[in-house]
């Protein structure tokens, strides 16, 4: 086939297109994923029962501040990476900020506590539940986000997948915070931070497989 024949064919009927639709799709997917995660945590794990206590509220806010800042930062970059060449425009180094802040706060709280408390402060009572729950709850938001990203055309599949995983992990951690009874800063930094990183790495690995076009 001659290239000018192809061009004639392609330009014979040119419909107006909405260039904002791809971003809207991803935002909707994040919201749908968040709703699914919330339902899973509320109905399967249950919301923590001591939410009327000041102590529980303070730690819930701390967890949400961490996980929501991850979600907001990562989704800000994700909607840029879904377009061809998005990776030339922005780097997403800033997404490490919430993790860095959490680690610094955790280190300070460990440094000011007696050494005998360290094990409890790091492992809490339910580290295993946290380790399993956050990545599991992240599956639905991750699938929703990836299917929306597939309708765009990212050209850096590893980083786009990683950002999708980061958003999904953050969404999942946000929902899990409603259930989680471990109110210790080092615990939050390690198990929330660690599981979100795990989701990010999974996204980076799956990106080239799931997002190819």
């Amino acid at each position: 086939m001659k290239t000018n024949e192809l061009i004639s064919m392609l330009s014979s009927q040119v419909d107006p297109v909405d260039t904002r639709e791809v971003v809207r799709n991803v935002r909707i997917a994040i919201l749908v994923g968040a709703a699914a995660s919330l339902l899973a945590v509320v109905f399967v794990l249950g919301v923590r029962t001591d939410l009327n206590e000041m102590h529980a509220q303070v730690f819930l806010v701390a967890k949400l501040a961490f996980s929501l800042s991850v979600v907001i930062l990562a989704s800000h970059y994700l909607v840029k990476y879904i377009r061809p060449g998005g990776e030339f425009r922005v780097r997403f180094a800033l997404t490490v900020l919430p993790f860095l802040a959490a680690m610094i706060i955790a280190a300070i709280s460990l440094a000011t506590a007696p050494r005998s408390h360290w094990e409890t402060m790091v492992f809490g009572s339910y580290w295993l539940e946290c380790l399993i729950a956050i990545p599991t709850v992240a599956v639905v938001p991750f699938a929703a986000i990836m299917s929306a990203v597939r309708r765009a055309a990212p050209t850096d599949l590893v980083r786009t997948g990683a950002l999708a995983g980061l958003v999904a992990g953050g969404v999942s951690a946000t929902a899990y915070a409603l259930h989680c009874m471990d109110d210790l800063l080092p615990f939050i930094a390690l198990w929330y931070g660690g599981t979100i990183v795990l989701c990010t790495v999974t996204g980076a690995v799956l990106g080239p497989k799931l997002l190819r076009w």
């Binding site: 086939m1 001659k2 290239t3 000018n4 024949e5 192809l6 061009i7 004639s8 064919m9 392609l10 330009s11 014979s12 009927q13 040119v14 419909d15 107006p16 297109v17 909405d18 260039t19 639709e21 791809v22 879904i82 377009r83 061809p84 060449g85 998005g86 990776e87 030339f88 425009r89 765009a152 055309a153 050209t155 190819r212």
Partner: protein
């Protein structure tokens, strides 16, 4: 006016449904794509005949993915990212190393122009045969024979709006077929 602003103006118009601008845009870009692919294929030791396949594949992507362009951004990096993505994809499929696909400045894609249009290895006539008859006839009359929609409607016994719908659907199927063929 720079090349970027010319091309961007065409893109902006084509996003709003201006088919004349769309044709000019694709024609202008095909020259840049051809020159880019020719030099890259040469560098990777691939036969030059693959150039036109890649040019057409990239044009199809530019057409079908035009909604992924952000009008607030320059056009050149968007085109370059698509061109490079398709090149890497092609080299990977043909089992050549992709290690020597350098990351240039996006402007590299506009650096040179090659209008010695050649033919791809695709046979349009064969693809046409795979379309349902009403779509094939509508496309044939209007797109290849240059009849108006009304004339095509008369000749085929369809209503003018049916001809339009069949052209629209036929083109969609055809671009999908071409995209699949160039991958095979």
């Amino acid at each position: 006016m720079t090349k970027e602003s010319d091309l961007k103006a065409l893109m902006t118009a084509s996003l709003q449904g201006d088919s004349i601008a769309h044709r000019s845009l694709l024609t202008a870009l095909s020259g840049h794509l051809r020159s880019y692919y020719k030099s890259r294929l040469l560098r990777s030791g691939r036969p030059a005949e693959e150039t036109e396949d890649l040019v057409q594949e990239a044009l199809i992507v530019i057409h079908t993915q035009r909604h992924t362009y952000d009008p607030e951004q320059p056009l050149t990096p968007w085109v370059y990212a698509i061109a490079r993505y398709k090149l890497i994809d092609h080299l990977r499929r043909t089992r050549t190393t992709t290690a020597d696909v350098p990351l240039e400045n996006a402007e590299y894609i506009l650096a040179s122009d090659d209008n010695a249009a050649a033919e791809s290895q695709l046979d349009l006539a064969k693809l046409f045969e795979r379309l349902p008859e009403r779509m094939r006839l509508s496309l044939q009359y209007v797109k290849l024979d240059g009849l108006s929609v009304a004339e095509a409607a008369d000749r085929s016994g369809m209503s003018p709006s049916a001809v339009k719908v069949n052209i629209h659907r036929g083109l969609k199927i055809l671009t999908a077929l071409i995209a699949r063929e160039t991958k095979a």
